[in-house]
Amino acid sequence: MYRAPVNKIIRSSIVDGPGNRTAVFFQSCNFNCRYCHNPETIHMCVHCGRCTESCPAGALRMAEGKVVWDKEKCVSCDTCIKVCPNDASPKITYMSAAQIWEEIEDDLPFIRGITVSGGECTLQRDTVVELFRLAKQNGLTTLLDSNGSYDFQNDLELLEVSDGVMLDVKADCEERHRWLTGQSISTVLFNLDYLAKMNKLEEVRTVCIPGALENEKTISKVAEILSPYLKEKDIRYKLIKYRHFGVREKYQDFRQPDEEYMEHLKELALEKGFRNIVII
């Protein structure tokens, strides 16, 4: 049975979609964004053993060439994550869809849905499909939080069990997108249009950094692509303030936007036809 690498499960998340939800964070991502707030979720652990030496609680050890994490002993100090030279984490639990569901099931009375995030959740496509099926059978809504690199057009099975995708649009053009994430923007922009057309676009998200990114252009680009849909559909646009928190030291020179700047971006989005804009 396949087990997906799970970084963590949050039992009560209020920022990953409407209402109270369980959020499942999978390990590993196919982007490497400079501003990533959780860089320890980017790569899979290569079992170099470096972190085992610095754990103050003795929760990490090597066994048969692999790092083993003792959840009970761990005091969540995050030292291991800080010392890892590989943007990975030793605190990964490998779980099947059924095992993840088992964890969620007890909380059913309190949540209205689940959201899978990451890392990049679509890398765990099979697990997600199975998990979402179980969720749907139990009356939950299902959302994907994705970087948009996945070929959704050719996976109707996944779209069928997903109520929507919260899609990151991180830049306005190929060059900026490659500079920021290391990957091409073309699939992302294709998905933006496709998901809107299929009624599966739950929200668009853009992290805003004055100076480093052409945020105005990104907003304009998103608006241009969504313009055929914006009249009938109330697509939420979440403008996320860049914050230093969690970002790797070598990328710490980005500037945090102020309220005024964010309001200015909101004005722009309004002008371009968005009605539902959230600044966080």
């Binding site: 949050i10 039992r11 009560s12 998340s13 209020i14 920022v15 409407p18 209402g19 109270n20 939800r21 959020a23 007890d106 909380d107 009375p109 309190f110 949540i111 209205r112």
Partner: protein
């Protein structure tokens, strides 16, 4: 100040009495009316306890296993009274010389006049009615702005003249203009009184209205949510929530409330077997007999049910009153008995401990249901999970988990669900949140809905860092408590309660919940 038994009373000499009276008169922490109350209480306690009080009652009071909640030796009124204000607004009152009101202005004034003349065991009415049901027709005839202004002054008038946190009003389950206006006014007013309950039914109360109520609660600790279906089913269609959270019949109420201190009782036992076979039956039996004696004296030896104007005009019916069989300290009781049985599990963290908790309540419920009382509604007493008092050391409120030992939110709610069903006449828990709750009221509502799904019957929230908070079962301002600590008089009677250990611990130790953001 409370004189416990007859022997002690008889040795109180004239001179001692005079000294005590002078002490009350000189107490700088009290307002005029609070002094008057204290004097009345002193006089009352010179009487003996009612005839028929079992001998064991004195011993078990001395050992702190039973508490009569300082009701006094000889109450001359029922403890909780829920007048039928609907009837009043329809028919007026000859005693008050009031005709039925014709518009909102008249209706609000009529109610204020009634409140002034009503009472309960304390000076103030513990139930002000269902505001929306009483006022909606009048409110709808006014311009929204005018209705808001009148309701605002109505609420302020209540807060400034009925300065007691046990004054309670209800809204819901339907959404209403009246309800909406009140939810908009309360955060601005930042009043302590009244304590407000939203009778909540997820099938009837619209989500938007419920979210408005939650937003309001975060800003001013009001309203709390009462699970409408439960109270309708277990108390009656025409129930009201009075005082802290007491589900009682409108046009009726409760004669008295006496409490077992289960935590203290468990300290007097060898193990759980001793508890179930000896000590618990003794305490339950004594409390039942004591309540019988007290109710008998209120009904047959006091003027209230014979001559009070509310009874005479049919706003209150003697046959709609119950006796409240109260308890506190289930958590300590369970934990102590587990330890005495050589086990380490604690209530809220261990299934076996919780099974023991349920078993204790089932045992008490069985005895209470078997007990016949000629005067209580349907001849039965009703169980009440009491919010605690200042002398309850070693006993957490009702069936609540001890401060600092609360499990994670969902587990905590499920734990409430195990115990709340035993208490139609009153139970509840409080879940303060931090600012993150404002960011997604849908999520907070999901949690409340989930709570009711798993068996919670009454729950409330407030902002952990706010001034106006809900302490144990009533509203309190941190700033007023500070004043009182500095020896200044404050208008609210209940502020003094907060100087007790349990409310102090609530303020400092109650777990404040946070969402991951």
């Amino acid at each position: 100040m409370i004189v416990l038994n007859r022997e002690e009373t008889s040795v109180s000499t004239n001179e001692e009495m005079k000294q005590e009276i002078r002490k009350i008169m000189k107490d700088k922490k009290l307002t005029y009316w609070q002094r008057t109350d204290a004097l009345a209480r002193y006089a009352e306690d010179l009487l003996d306890y009612p005839e028929g009080t079992p001998e064991e009652f004195y011993e078990l009071t001395e050992s702190r296993e039973i508490s009569d909640l300082h009701e006094g030796h000889g109450p001359w009124s029922a403890r909780y009274i829920l007048p039928d204000y609907e009837k009043f607004l329809k028919e007026g009152s000859s005693f008050l010389r009031l005709d039925p009101p014709k518009d909102l202005f008249e209706a609000l004034n009529c109610l204020l006049i009634f409140y002034h003349n009503a009472h309960a065991l304390d000076r103030f009415p513990v139930f002000l009615g269902r505001f929306d049901v009483l006022l909606e027709d009048f409110v709808k005839k006014e311009k929204r702005e005018d209705a808001g202004k009148m309701l605002g002054w109505f609420l302020t008038s209540i807060d400034r003249t009925m300065s007691d946190s046990f004054v309670q009003a209800n809204i819901g389950p339907e959404a209403s203009v009246t309800g909406e206006l009140i939810l908009e006014l309360l955060p601005k007013l930042q009043n302590i009184t009244p304590n407000l309950s939203l009778r909540y039914d997820p099938d009837i109360t619209p989500d938007d209205f419920a979210k408005k109520a939650l937003d309001c609660a975060l800003r001013c600790a009001n309203p709390a949510f009462a699970y409408d279906r439960f109270y309708k089913e277990r108390v009656g269609e025409d129930y009201g929530i009075a005082s802290c959270y007491n589900g009682l019949l409108i046009g009726g109420g409760a004669f008295t409330l006496t409490r077992l201190r289960l935590g203290t009782i468990s300290e007097h036992c060898k193990d759980s077997r001793d508890f179930f076979e000896n000590r618990l039956p003794l305490c339950v039996d004594t409390q039942l007999k004591f309540m019988d004696a007290k109710i008998n004296s209120i009904v047959n030896d006091r003027a209230f049910f014979e001559s009070d104007w509310m009874v005479k005009e049919g706003f209150v019916h003697p046959d709609r009153f119950v006796g409240l069989f109260g308890l506190v300290g289930l958590c300590e009781c369970v934990n102590n008995l587990m330890a005495k049985d050589g086990k380490s599990g604690r209530m809220g963290h261990d299934p076996e401990a919780d099974r023991l908790g349920v078993k204790i309540l089932e045992a008490i419920e069985k005895s209470v249901n078997e007990h016949y009382c000629p005067y209580s509604y349907k001849h039965r007493f009703v169980m009440h999970s009491q919010v605690g008092a200042d002398d309850d050391e070693g006993n957490s409120a009702g069936t609540r988990i001890a401060y600092g030992d609360e499990p994670e939110l969902y587990e905590h709610l499920k734990n409430c669900g195990l115990y709340h069903r035993f208490f139609p006449s009153g139970v509840g828990d409080i879940f303060p949140f931090d600012e993150t709750a404002f960011r997604n009221l849908d999520a907070l509502l999901d949690i409340f809905k989930g709570g009711f799904k798993v068996g919670v019957k009454y729950m409330s929230t407030y902002l952990g860092s706010g001034d106006l908070i809900r302490v144990t079962g009533y509203l309190m301002k941190r700033s007023e408590v500070e004043k009182l600590k500095n020896g200044e008089a404050v208008a609210n009677d209940s502020a003094a309660l907060v100087l007790g250990k349990s409310p102090e611990r609530h303020m400092n130790e109650k777990k404040v919940r946070s969402f991951d953001v």
